[in-house]
């Protein structure tokens, strides 16, 4: 895998015995030990993820708000300083280019965190829109200089509190603040992709090893484990979160995947506005639903979905797995909007045999509220 990029923590993963795989042009740890153990660790104590492959793009300037309002489907102007929002970059036809998180660091300074696989496409689109619209703002692609380490799980806050003077209680869900963790300057963000409480720590790539080592050492007494992309996928799927490339792609619009609430049609013009307004008015033709298997078979991405029993092929599974937390076999699937309905019967074709399933509400798992 010599032409793959590596994160600053690559050698650490190898030393820990991780199984490394190609992902979005990077060599990444898919698991260190057992995906099921790593998954359960995040749900019960705290797991540690290296997400340094992701993209970090800063937008700065008097017209940063105006620009991002035009470029994204959400309204970054509605963010307080220190607040973040989940958003998407779309095409003119409403197709999704990437899903991302937009953080408002200062009045006129924003951070966009995007998927590694879409980094080039996001950068290209933002640069093109910036130039074409002649906005008074600058873009700074900090991806190569930035590491991202994420402690996720119910014990993440307790762990982090041992390593920082930052007031973590003041950082609410979907908020961020600059601070220092184990002597490493970080943007401390309370965001994540696991369905648990947790943090995403953005630091200079040159400090990544120090930060990781400090979290691993302090994490021992909390039962911390390093976790790979395998567990990251089962965690987000249980939490009903979409994955770009599975649920989201350029042929899919936000209204088809339960993300209509992210699109702020009333904020003014933006890329995809006309198309998305039309889709919202007529309703999407397809819908992403949650399925739970009744028969004993594991649904997987790409498997055909039928209106059951003995129905015609009407859709396909976008993601599926054995849910480690619930013990059930679950999937997200794209079906015609008129076929969707909680409780409706479907079949998933597994190795040429139809296996019964029923639609259930998403998410499959919601963390217990205290």
């Amino acid at each position: 895998m010599t032409d793959l990029r590596q994160t600053p923590l690559h050698d650490v993963h190898v030393e820990l015995g991780a199984r490394m795989v190609p992902f979005a042009g990077y060599e990444m740890p898919v698991q260190y030990d057992s995906i099921l153990d790593e998954h359960r660790t995040v749900r019960s104590t705290v797991g540690l993820f290296d997400l340094s492959h992701m993209g970090e793009i800063e937008l700065r300037g008097d017209e940063a708000v105006a620009f991002l309002r035009y470029a994204l489907v959400s309204d970054p102007g509605a963010l307080e300083v220190g607040q973040a929002q989940y958003s998407m970059l779309c095409q003119e036809d409403g197709g999704i280019v990437d899903d991302l998180i937009c953080y408002r660091l200062e009045e006129h300074r924003f951070l966009i965190v995007c998927n590694a696989a879409n980094h080039d496409a996001v950068l290209e689109q933002l640069e093109r829109l910036l130039a074409h619209g002649d906005f008074g703002a600058e873009l700074d692609d900090r991806s190569a200089r930035t590491a991202l380490i994420a402690p996720q799980g119910p014990s993440a806050a307790a762990l982090l509190a041992e390593l920082t003077d930052a007031n973590l209680e003041a950082i609410a869900n979907y908020h961020a603040a600059e601070g220092s963790v184990a002597g490493v300057t970080c943007l401390i963000a309370r965001t994540g992709y696991t369905g648990e409480d947790g943090f995403e720590l953005f630091c200079d790539a040159r400090r990544a090893r120090d930060l990781w080592a400090a979290l691993m050492a302090a994490g021992e007494s909390h039962g911390l484990r390093p976790c790979g992309l395998g567990a990251r996928d089962t965690l987000r799927l249980e939490a009903g979160m979409p994955l770009y490339g599975n649920e989201l792609n350029r042929e899919t619009n936000p209204f088809e995947v339960n993300l209509g609430r992210v699109v702020k049609l009333d904020k003014g013009d933006f890329i995809g506005h006309a198309a998305l307004q039309a889709i919202q008015q007529t309703g999407p033709r397809r819908k992403l639903i949650g399925l739970q298997m009744i028969d004993n078979a594991i649904p997987r991405a790409g498997y055909e979905v039928r209106a059951g029993p003995d129905g015609p092929d009407i859709g396909h599974v976008t993601s599926g797995t054995l849910s480690p937390t619930l013990g059930t076999k679950v999937a997200m699937a794209m079906v015609p909007a008129e076929a969707a309905g909680v409780g409706h019967s479907f079949e998933v074709v597994v190795r040429d045999r139809p296996q019964r399933a029923e639609q259930v509400k998403l998410p499959f798992y919601r963390r217990p509220r205290d």
């Binding site: 395998g230 004993n296 594991i298």
Partner: protein, 125 residues
């Protein structure tokens, strides 16, 4: 790495333990480790005719689906039903409690096409 020396092995990481006219088959620890956590097994039916090196079942890990290739031909006389509830037995004890099926051997000559423990260890190193 050494493997039980009373077994014969296929290059597809299955093993055979001959017991008179019958044999027990399973997957090796190498296969189980490569797969990671095994969460589902599709077993053959009792009475099914297995053909050496043909697909006879499926094993699924969290992330992947893998075919099982019969190391030897024969009629299935018993399957390990414990694997339905506890597929993780394939990871925990692949040469013992994790056995997959028992067959009535069709052709003992087929054993010639398999590897002994040393040769299998060499293949997998």
């Amino acid at each position: 790495m050494s493997y039980p020396d009373d077994l014969a092995y296929s290059r597809e990481h299955e093993w055979v333990r001959v017991d008179g006219a019958r044999a027990t088959i399973g997957i090796t620890s190498y296969a189980a480790d490569e797969l990671g956590d095994i969460v589902f097994v599709e077993l053959p039916e009792v009475g099914a005719a297995l053909s050496q090196f043909a697909v006879f079942g499926v094993v699924e890990s969290v992330k992947a689906v893998s075919d099982l290739y019969a190391p030897i031909s024969g009629e299935v006389v018993e399957v390990n039903d414990a694997l339905r509830e506890s597929p993780e037995l394939l990871n925990a004890d692949p040469f013992g409690e994790g056995w997959v099926a028992r067959v009535e051997l069709a052709d003992r000559g087929e054993l010639q096409a398999l590897l002994d423990a040393d040769a299998y260890a060499a293949e997998t190193s």
